[in-house]
Structure formats: structure tokens, C-alpha cells
């Protein structure tokens, strides 16, 4: 039997049970995240149906170029994440670390671009609250769009920051030689989490950036 580096926790009977438990645990956690984001999506749908023009007008103020670039970056990071997990599966420690680092870099690039977008919105007086100004439609309804924009992308970015932390942790553990072809479950679990965060963005992008654009 391949060496496990003492990774079998005391409550489990065998490594298979441990892997299955971890996997079910991560999927269950992702289910909770779906419901969590789901509440925001429900609020978005309700208000978009109520104020379609204001939402469309507000959406046009988002930077579609930056948003599209970000979408590409995130999809790319999911690819590098898959390659990291594959490397782990193959027992290739170096390429595993490299792909984890690439995923991290792409994730940070995403966050950086998001930061730039937020800064633009601040300068354009599009942050809801006292300084909010909007002239293309009912400003109150446009403010609801921007509240949801910041709420949803902010919540998403927060999850990405956590993901970045997880990637650093996985890279460290890989560097310390804790993973092998017979034990790489944590990397796989982080991979699942990262893909989920990517999928949330795949829904956010068209809903927020692409209203009424042809």
C-alpha cells in the first residue's frame, strides 16, 4: 500500500473513507454557498423585473472590456487549477506548485482589475449612498442596481480572497512534500471550491454587464 505520510485522521477507518468524507463535505459546503449567493440573485431578479430600464441604463456604465478580460482570466485560472490537480494526481510536485502559482496569479489579476473598476465607479459617483449621482434613468433604481453590483461582486471577491489564501496554503504544503499520487485530496477540494467561485462569476457577468447589449 502506498505511503500516506500519516495523513489518515483517527476518526476514519481507511483512506478511502477519508477521501469520500472530504469530497462529500466540500460538495455539501458548496451547496450552502449556492443558497447564500442565491439570496442575492433573487433580490437581483426581483428588482430587474421591476425596473428594467434603470437596470439596463446602469449596466451600460460598467466597463465591459474589463469585465470580459476578467471573465477570460477567471476561466483561465480554472484551467490552471485543473492542471494543478492533474499534476498532483500524477505525483508531479513541481508542476503542481507552478500551476497553483499560476492560478493564484490569475486570481490576483482578477482582483486587481476588479479594484480598478471599483475605483472608476467611485470617481464616477456611482457608489450608492450620499455621493451617488446618476442621470440616465431614475437614480434611485439605478442605485439599487449598483448596490447589488457591489454586493454581489464584493461577496464574490471576498470568496476569491479566501480562495487565494487556500491556494497559498496548498502550494506551501506541496512544497513541503505533503502530497503524492496517493494523497492529494486537499488540492482537489480547493480545486472544487475554486471552480465554484468561477461558476458564480459566469452567472454574475452576463447578469450585471450584459443587460441589453447586442
Amino acid at each position: 500500500m502506498a505511503e500516506i505520510h500519516g495523513a489518515l485522521a483517527h476518526q476514519f477507518d481507511d483512506p478511502e473513507q477519508q477521501v469520500e468524507a472530504s469530497t462529500l463535505g466540500m460538495w455539501t459546503f458548496l451547496a450552502t454557498e449556492i443558497l447564500f449567493f442565491g439570496g442575492l440573485f433573487v433580490a437581483y431578479i426581483v428588482y430587474r423585473l421591476s425596473y428594467p430600464q434603470a437596470f439596463a441604463a446602469a449596466s451600460h456604465h460598467l466597463d465591459i472590456l474589463l469585465g470580459t478580460v476578467n471573465t477570460g482570466i477567471l476561466i483561465g485560472s480554472s484551467l490552471t487549477m485543473v492542471l494543478a490537480v492533474y499534476s498532483a494526481q500524477m505525483g508531479r510536485s513541481r508542476s503542481q506548485i507552478l500551476f497553483l502559482a499560476a492560478t493564484l496569479a490569475l486570481g490576483l489579476a482578477f482582483l486587481g482589475i476588479k479594484g480598478v473598476e471599483y475605483q472608476h465607479k467611485f470617481h464616477e459617483h456611482l457608489v450608492p449612498g450620499a455621493g451617488f449621482q446618476f442621470s440616465d434613468a431614475d437614480p434611485r433604481h439605478a442605485a439599487i442596481f449598483f448596490s447589488l453590483y457591489f454586493g454581489m461582486t464584493g461577496m464574490h471577491a471576498f470568496h476569491m480572497v479566501i480562495g487565494a489564501g487556500l491556494l497559498i496554503w496548498m502550494a506551501l504544503r506541496a512544497w513541503r512534500g505533503e502530497f503524492s499520487a496517493s494523497y492529494y485530496t486537499p488540492v482537489e477540494m480547493v480545486g472544487l471550491y475554486w471552480h465554484f467561485v468561477d461558476v458564480v462569476w459566469i452567472f454574475l457577468f452576463p447578469l450585471l454587464y450584459l443587460i441589453g447589449r447586442h
Binding site: S50, Y51, P52, Q53, A54, A137, D138, R140, H141
Partner: protein
């Protein structure tokens, strides 16, 4: 019952007896099951007391007929309750066309009532007995709830929209009016009384409330003050759609859909004019949000209702 210890509320509206009948059915059903369960449990617990330390009763195997029986019977009873309740609820939700319309505005922590004649009251509502009465509800701040236990009616009062309830009082007297959605510090002080009187006494009371102009007249005055007519004319070159005969009509919008021009539509059109643009017109109406009070909105709506249905558009 006893003066100091009432155990059942007065029945003062046509709904009350109907709601109570359903209630008594449920009480009877519940009492039956409570007695059945309590009784059976006590009986079994006494009868099957352990007689000796070594007795080991054989298991009783699953009895599908019994399981189905005690699943189906509660289901049937629940469906009866649902059906009876649903039909009464639908009836309670549809105010008659000819109902006398009162308006109640809730705000922290008082009720403002207004009659069509213009008469206003605070924390009191005089009404005639024997006539259906519809109360249009609005809030100036938070969510309240308009509750008259003796009539068995209740409806939340939600800021940003109109809600309504209706009833027909069938007994003279004074009855509690409670706010029953927690609304802040003096929530328990937001109470009033409903005074139900004979129709002739109500009329007398109305005329004694001198000095108030009817709501529709206030509405017309506001309509002119706010210069609505400058756009909303009956000519074909008017910048805004004609308003005569609007109320109660289906309106075709730019988006293609068709909506009913009711109180909520008119309110929305004044506060959020760009939400629903009428087909063939441009979105140039300014919003009156923040410039017009709930009272004023209601007055304009009542005035517009009086414009009735025009037979055809004025062609010039």
C-alpha cells in the same frame, strides 16, 4: 361572557360569524384529536404497565392499512379546512364595486382616516352599519397593520404601495382598532376605535364635520396646481396620454405589455413615470417623488376616478 373576563370577541361584521364558524369546526376537530391522543396515551400507559421484570412484549409488525388510515384522515380534514378557508378568504379579498371607500394612513404612531367627503379623523373611524366599506391603506414610514378584531379583518400597511381591506359592519358600537405589526417604540399606543353607527347617524356625523372639502375636489385642485394638464390633454398632439376614462382601463405600454390602470398604476406613474411608458409617448414626464405626500397622491387618484369613462377621444 363576564365583563372583566371576556373569552370570545364580539361579532360585529358579516365576516365574523363566518370566520367563527370555521374556527369552531377547527376547535371541535382539535379537541377531538387532543382527547383521543391524551386519552389513548394515558389509557395505554396505565393498562400496559410493566408487570414483571422479564416480560418482553413481541414486536408488532407494520400495519399498512393503519398507517394509510391515519395519514388519509388527517389529510382529508386538513383539505376540508383548506377549502373552506380558501373560499371564505377569496370572498374576503374581493371588495364589492359599490363599497364606500375610506382611506387610512398609518404612521408612527397614529392612524389618520379620511372619508370621501373629506372628513378627517385621527385614531377613530366612524362608519355606517350595513354597507360594505373598503379601506385603502398606506403608510408614511414603516410597515404597520390595520386590525379590527371585532370585524375579523387585518391587512398590513406597507410603505411604497397601497393595500386594501373591506368589511360590512352589522352591529352598532365601538370596537378596537389595533396596529398589529411591530412598528417601533409606541407600537402598543397605535390604537384607536371604530365607531359603527346607523347610516342616518353616520350621515349626520359627516355633515357635522364641517369645513373639509371632498377628497375629489382637493384632488382636482392639486391636479391644476401641479400643472398636470399642461401635458395630459385630450388632444392628439398632447405630450402625455389623456386621463379621462383612464381608470379601470387596460393600457398598452411601449414594451408591448398591457396593464390595468388601477390605484397602484396611477401612483407608480406619478412617482416612477419612466417605469411604464404608454405606447406612442416619450419618457419625458418628471417624477414627483419627494414633492407629493401620500395624502396628495390619494386625492389625485380619487379625482382621476371621477373623470369616468370617456366614450371616445376628442379628435382635434
Amino acid at each position: 361572557m363576564f365583563e372583566d373576563l371576556p373569552l370570545f370577541p364580539l361579532q360585529a361584521s358579516t365576516f365574523a360569524g363566518q370566520v367563527d364558524a370555521l374556527y369552531f369546526f377547527l376547535v371541535a376537530m382539535a379537541t377531538f384529536f387532543v382527547v383521543l391522543i391524551f386519552g389513548t396515551v394515558i389509557y395505554f400507559t396505565a393498562k400496559y404497565r410493566r408487570r414483571s421484570e422479564t416480560e418482553r412484549p413481541p414486536p408488532i409488525h407494520i400495519d399498512m392499512r393503519l398507517e394509510i388510515l391515519w395519514s388519509i384522515i388527517p389529510l382529508i380534514l386538513a383539505m376540508i379546512s383548506f377549502g373552506w378557508g380558501a373560499s371564505l378568504f377569496v370572498h374576503m379579498s374581493q371588495a364589492p364595486e359599490d363599497a364606500l371607500e375610506l382611506r387610512a394612513v398609518g404612521r408612527q404612531w397614529m392612524w389618520k382616516l379620511q372619508h370621501p367627503s373629506g372628513a378627517r379623523e385621527i385614531n377613530q373611524m366612524h362608519i355606517p352599519v350595513g354597507k360594505p366599506i373598503k379601506v385603502i391603506l398606506a403608510s408614511e414610514d414603516v410597515v404597520h397593520s390595520f386590525y379590527v378584531p371585532a370585524f375579523r379583518i387585518k391587512m398590513d400597511v406597507v410603505p411604497g404601495r397601497y393595500t386594501a381591506t373591506w368589511f360590512e359592519a352589522n352591529r352598532e358600537g365601538e370596537f378596537h382598532l389595533f396596529c398589529t405589526e411591530y412598528c417601533g417604540t409606541q407600537h402598543s399606543g397605535m390604537i384607536g376605535r371604530v365607531v359603527a353607527m346607523k347610516p342616518v347617524d353616520y350621515q349626520r356625523w359627516l355633515t357635522s364635520q364641517a369645513g373639509e372639502e371632498p377628497i375629489a375636489v382637493s384632488g382636482e385642485r392639486l391636479f391644476q396646481q401641479l400643472r398636470c394638464e399642461s401635458c395630459h390633454q385630450t388632444t392628439s398632439t398632447a405630450q402625455g396620454p389623456a386621463l379621462t376614462g383612464l381608470f379601470g382601463r387596460q393600457v398598452k405600454l411601449e414594451s408591448g405589455e398591457s396593464v390595468l390602470a388601477d390605484e397602484a398604476y396611477i401612483r407608480d406613474s406619478i412617482l416612477n413615470p419612466h417605469n411604464k411608458i404608454v405606447a406612442g409617448y416619450r419618457p419625458i414626464m418628471p417624477t414627483y417623488q419627494g414633492q407629493i405626500s401620500e395624502d396628495a397622491l390619494h386625492q389625485i387618484i380619487v379625482y382621476l376616478r371621477t373623470l369616468g369613462r370617456a366614450p371616445e377621444k376628442n379628435p382635434s
